[in-house]
Symmetry: C2
Subunit: 115 residues, 2 copies
């Protein structure tokens, strides 16, 4: 994945994938979209069991891209919760399109959106 500012082309799809083109980033966005504010450990309870170093890396990238913002809820030691920015919430249609495609074409999958 590219850091913010490194883009392969001026294509809007390629630019989106420069930020979000991996197996985990959009699952973090999914959890925040469906569950609201989350603490670091909350992400670990998702069914996909994200590795902790991957989670830390993706949260940092999503924050630097303006998709996620964090706020401290405790000092000494500092602890944060994470939430989507308006830019991040606007990824909802991407997730809905993926959920629709997955449910239609990947046997045995389901969508939180259809519960």
């Amino acid at each position: 994945m590219a850091e913010a500012g490194e883009r392969r082309s001026n294509c809007a799809i390629a630019g989106t994938l420069d930020i979000l083109g991996d197996r985990w980033s959009l699952l973090i966005v999914r959890d925040l979209l469906f569950q609201g504010d989350l603490r670091y450990g909350d992400f670990m309870s998702a069914g996909e069991v994200i590795p902790t170093n991957t989670l830390a890396d993706r949260l940092r990238r999503l924050e630097s891209s303006g998709i996620v913002e964090r706020s401290a809820y405790q000092q000494n030691p500092p602890r944060y919760f994470y939430r989507l920015t308006p830019k991040g919430r606007e990824l909802g249609p991407v997730l809905r399109a993926m959920a629709t495609w997955g449910m239609r074409h990947l046997q045995g999958t389901r969508s939180l959106l259809s519960d």
Copy 2:
């Protein structure tokens, strides 16, 4: 990326990302959706300049996932063209949602869809 049959969870979004969660696969789908049947070398002319070993790997994965199919247009040596299956064409809404988000939030990007 997972091979077909390896899924992290029963979530339809996670299942979609198991197949398509990387920086390149959806750009191959984009090229096939906008340009129709393509030969191997045609993919190399896209603005993002996909490395040839990455292209070969992704085409193989997309074919094994039933998103792309290939047909020989020449024997000795065999040469193929690639096209989307109906399952692959139904990724259109995912690409459109990414294009909309990218154009809105990534400065300087544009969409083939809006030409």
